[in-house]
Symmetry: none
């Protein structure tokens, strides 16, 4: 019996949010600034997103490129494609900042943690698929603990890229792939 929330307004906010992050980094990301740039009223932002962080989360959900998961015929090829896609995304400094900002919030707020987890899971679908294909092909042992494997696969890149804030060169990429594939395919 009433008026629904305007999708136009929502889009304008998200667009402005992305623009701000691109221009000024996460630190410049402010409810006031989003309102200013988007022309949307501050109240409306709060109506759509409970907090600035929620908007931030929504904004990057639209940014994060789809992670490709083509079937290359081998575990190594599939992992290279999936991880490479994630690495590409990680090369934008702003994205790294946003990722950590969200992470920070997720450590405090449970609801936020859930959303963050979901977003991550989505981003890791390709990795999961790669491992499952590996199992199907017989490259990987069928009794492998997939969660563990995922941690093992992502870990080194996370350390290099986020903690050390260093890019991963092609050589390093291949070297890491070597170790990962070997570890996943070695029978006990």
């Amino acid at each position: 019996m009433a008026r629904p929330k305007s999708a136009a307004a929502r889009d304008k906010m998200i667009e402005a949010a992305q623009e701000i992050i691109r221009d000024q980094g996460v630190d410049g990301f402010t409810i006031d600034e989003v309102a200013r740039r988007s022309g949307v009223a501050r109240t409306t932002i709060y109506r759509h997103f409970g907090s600035g962080d929620d908007l931030l989360l929504a904004a990057i959900d639209h940014i994060v490129a789809e992670v490709e998961a083509p079937d290359t015929g081998s575990l190594r090829g599939d992992l290279r494609a999936a991880i490479g896609s994630l690495l590409d995304a990680s090369r934008t400094p702003e994205l790294r900042q946003v990722f950590v900002s969200i992470l920070r919030r997720a450590l405090v707020d449970d609801e936020f943690a859930t959303a963050f987890r979901a977003a991550n899971d989505q981003r890791h679908v390709a990795l999961r698929t790669a491992i499952q294909r590996g199992i199907a092909r017989g490259e990987v042992a069928p009794d492998i603990n997939i969660e563990l494997a995922l941690q093992f696969v992502q870990g080194p890149f996370l350390v290099k890229r986020l903690i050390e804030n260093d890019d991963v060169t092609d050589r390093e990429f291949e070297a890491l792939l070597d170790i990962i594939v070997r570890a996943l395919t070695t029978r006990t």
Copy 2:
């Protein structure tokens, strides 16, 4: 020729800063709050530390936990000790928050980046030692890339503990150790 900056004041500030971080997390860390708790005037804080960040850095420098590196006779044992020590520290929610907060700043601010890197290096001494002992014992190939190895060793725990914000159970710990040790000791 003038009055020297009071070490007492400095100590009070840093103590208060650490107390705040412990109690309310890094988000509660505020020049005003430090002034309130320490009884030191806000202006004095600015006189000692040009900005709140500098004080934060100073406060954190004193927090860095010691990591033990006993020689247990085996690579696995040494890694278990070193990583276990890090995991223990990671169990305090405040510490996780501080870690991410600093990480966030490190992505933007060079000074923070340097401090963060230094703190991490210090925390990883035990890991380095464990791997080097492994090489000495002949468990690990002498031509191993230690930086790569470190990324592999830390990675999975970082993912579990920080990204997924899940504790690492003993079972998981041992399972991850399995994979890591196997990866480190497998000859090409």
Copy 3:
């Protein structure tokens, strides 16, 4: 289209401002103090009045005392009434301070100058009337320069009261009236 500025808040500010001036003089007048006493947020004060001075002006506008101008039948009687009324007002130390404070600002700030002039004009209406009645009665020459006359009438009291910060006794009052009336009524 937006929420109107709260008249209640405005009133509370002005009331508090006047209270402060009364209690502590103009020197105690501070945005912070107004905020404290009125319970209105500091930011709101800035929203209503761009600066503390504007608030001060607004507060003072309401303070200006009424000056009586009864027709006593003679120039001397009229002047006695009008000046007496001003002298009465001048007996409050706070008012003297406010007067000088405003005067000080008026020398620097045009807005203050205008407000000060307006307040003075209003205060001098009774004097003007007295002189004009004198002209009508034939006591004062019709070609008199009223501005000059006003300066003569006010001057001595201003010197005594403000510069020398001495009260004007009844004897002195009458003596000065003697001189003034003589000066005004003497034909060339």
Copy 4:
């Protein structure tokens, strides 16, 4: 048995004070600014002058030109010389500001009031002399109340110059002199 206060330092302060008033007006006059410009330590300023206002007072005492009191042979001539000299001094906007600033302080602080009164008395010596010469010449009645006369003489100029912040033109000057001389020389 100790070192006397350095007259050099005192001079530097006063010089700096005058410079500041000239450059930035009384509002820019600050202990810190005087210290900065003069190179004198803040502490030293407080040792020489209890407060900034005291320094201000000292500074203008050096600025105010000597008021000339030549014997022109007539009351009118003497008054013209004495008042003209004061009017000349009053033409510097900064001096008017300083005068009012000091006046403001004198309304609050008794010690200050005394100093202010003394400074004024000194400035009015020429006026007193003029009137006394008038008495000696027989132009003015010998039983005149000199204090009252002084108030009467100064008053109009004070109103015009300070309150109305208007210059006194030569025409007005002469017109005012007319009235004053007439009033002083008229026998009851």
